[in-house]
C-alpha cells in the first residue's frame, strides 16, 4: 500500500490511487460507522478522505508513517470537522526540530516497526487490548468507558499505561 501511495505522490498515478481507494475507502467507512456515523455520511467522508489523500500525497513521508496511519489521521480529522463541527488543534511541523534526519533505512525501520506493533497488539492482555480498542471505536471519554464497565477510572488509566508501556517496549522505545 505504501508503494502505491508513493506512486500517487511521485507520478499522480491514477491506477495506484484506484487500488488504494479499493482497499482503504471501505475500511474508512467502516471506521466511521463504528464511531456512530450513518452509512451515507460515512461513505461521503470516506470519499473526502481519499480525495484529501490524493491532494496531499506530495506531503506523504514514508519514513514517518504508513499509508494506513496517514489515512487514519486524515479520517479522524475529517470526522471532527464534519460530525463534531470543531477544528482539530493540529501540530505545525515547523514548530519543532525533527527528531532525526530520515536516512535510507528509515522506511525499512518504519515498516518493521509496524509489523512489530501489530504483533504486540495481539499479545496484549485482553483487558488492556479492550481499553485501547474502545478508545478508538467507542467515541466516549475514558470516564464513561469506566462507568459503563463498572470499573474505576483509575483501572482504565492503569490498563492504558501498561498497554502503552508494552507497546513501546515492543518497539524498543524505553522512554
Amino acid at each position: 500500500m505504501d508503494a502505491l501511495l508513493r506512486r500517487v505522490a511521485e507520478a499522480k498515478d491514477r491506477a495506484a490511487f484506484a487500488a488504494l481507494f479499493d482497499h482503504f475507502a471501505p475500511r474508512i467507512k467502516s471506521y466511521l460507522m463504528r464511531l456512530g456515523a450513518p452509512p451515507s455520511q460515512a461513505e461521503d467522508l470516506a470519499q473526502e478522505a481519499m480525495l484529501s489523500l490524493w491532494r496531499k500525497a506530495h506531503l506523504f513521508d514514508d519514513s514517518k508513517a504508513s499509508a494506513a496511519t496517514w489515512l487514519f489521521t486524515i479520517a479522524r480529522n475529517l470526522r471532527i470537522d464534519a460530525i463534531r463541527r470543531e477544528k482539530r488543534p493540529e501540530l505545525d511541523p515547523q514548530d519543532f526540530e525533527p527528531e532525526a534526519e530520515p536516512d535510507a533505512d528509515a522506511v525499512i525501520t518504519l515498516a518493521a516497526d509496524e509489523v512489530r506493533l501489530r504483533a504486540a497488539l495481539k499479545t496484549l492482555p485482553p483487558d488492556q487490548a479492550a481499553v485501547i480498542e474502545q478508545s478508538f471505536f467507542a467515541d466516549k471519554p475514558h470516564s464513561q468507558i469506566a462507568s459503563e464497565q463498572g470499573i474505576p477510572l483509575g483501572t482504565v488509566k492503569s490498563r492504558l499505561r501498561l498497554a502503552m508501556a508494552r507497546l513501546k517496549a515492543a518497539l524498543g522505545d524505553a522512554s
Binding site: R76, N77, P89, K157
Partner: protein
C-alpha cells in the same frame, strides 16, 4: 527541553483518537510542541490507529463511489489557510487561535499584575491565556471541574511543585492551591477549565465570575 509534568496516557490517547474536546486538544497539542516524548507517544497511538483501520472489516461503498472520486481528482484543491510566519516563535497551533503572535495579544487587565485573554468556550469548557507579573499570586482556589494549565513562558510554583515552559498542570477537585508566578519574567499560561474555579477570597469570589473564571 526538560519537561517534568506531562499529560497522562488517557489524555494523549483521547487526542490521538480525536475524542478530546477542542480546548483540551489545544492544550495537549501545545504541550507536544515542547515535548518530544509526548509527540512520540501520540505518533505511536496513531500507528495503532492505522493498524486498526487497516484490519477493519470492509464496509463496501456504493458502486459509483470510486468513479465519483476519480472524476474529482483534477479539481483544484482548496488553498490551505496560512498565517504569515511568526515573529516571536509562538507555536503554530496556538497562533491559529490567537490570529497572530503572543506578543500581539491584546490583554484584558484584571488587577495590577494579572491579565487574561479569552480564546474560546464550548460546552462549558473554556480556553484562555493568563499572564502574571513575576511574583503574582493567584489566590487560593479549588476546582469544581478540571483545570489544565500549560506554561508558555516564565514559570509558576505551588504546593505540587514548580512548572516551567512546556509543563502541564492538571488540577481537579482534590487540589487546593495558590499558584505564584516565578521571579524573573512574566508567566504566560494557556489554561483550560471545565467549570468555574472556586476562589476563597471574597473579592475574587465576586470578581471571578465577572472575568469568566
Amino acid at each position: 527541553m526538560n519537561i517534568r509534568h506531562h499529560p497522562d496516557e488517557s489524555l494523549l490517547l483521547a487526542y490521538a483518537v480525536g475524542a478530546s474536546d477542542e480546548a483540551t486538544g489545544l492544550i495537549i497539542a501545545t504541550h507536544m510542541v515542547f515535548c518530544a516524548q509526548c509527540r512520540r507517544s501520540v505518533a505511536l497511538m496513531e500507528k495503532i490507529g492505522g493498524g486498526l483501520l487497516d484490519t477493519l472489516p470492509a464496509a463496501p461503498l456504493s458502486a459509483a463511489a470510486r468513479d465519483a472520486v476519480l472524476a474529482r481528482l483534477d479539481e483544484p484543491a482548496p488553498a490551505p489557510a496560512r498565517l504569515p510566519p511568526s515573529r516571536d516563535g509562538t507555536p503554530g497551533v496556538l497562533r491559529s487561535y490567537l490570529g497572530g503572535d503572543l506578543s500581539d495579544v491584546r490583554w484584558r487587565r484584571m488587577g495590577p499584575s494579572l491579565a487574561y485573554k479569552p480564546l474560546f468556550k464550548r460546552d462549558g469548557i473554556s480556553a484562555k491565556l493568563l499572564r502574571g507579573a513575576p511574583g503574582t499570586e493567584v489566590g487560593h482556589h479549588t476546582h469544581r471541574g478540571q483545570e489544565f494549565t500549560l506554561v508558555l513562558s516564565g514559570g509558576f510554583s505551588d504546593i505540587t511543585g514548580n512548572y516551567d515552559p512546556g509543563d502541564l498542570q492538571i488540577a481537579d477537585g482534590n487540589l487546593r492551591h495558590s499558584p505564584i508566578a516565578d521571579p524573573g519574567e512574566d508567566c504566560i499560561n494557556l489554561a483550560v477549565t471545565t467549570a468555574p474555579l472556586k476562589f476563597e477570597n471574597l473579592i475574587q469570589k465576586i470578581a471571578g465570575p465577572l472575568f469568566g473564571f
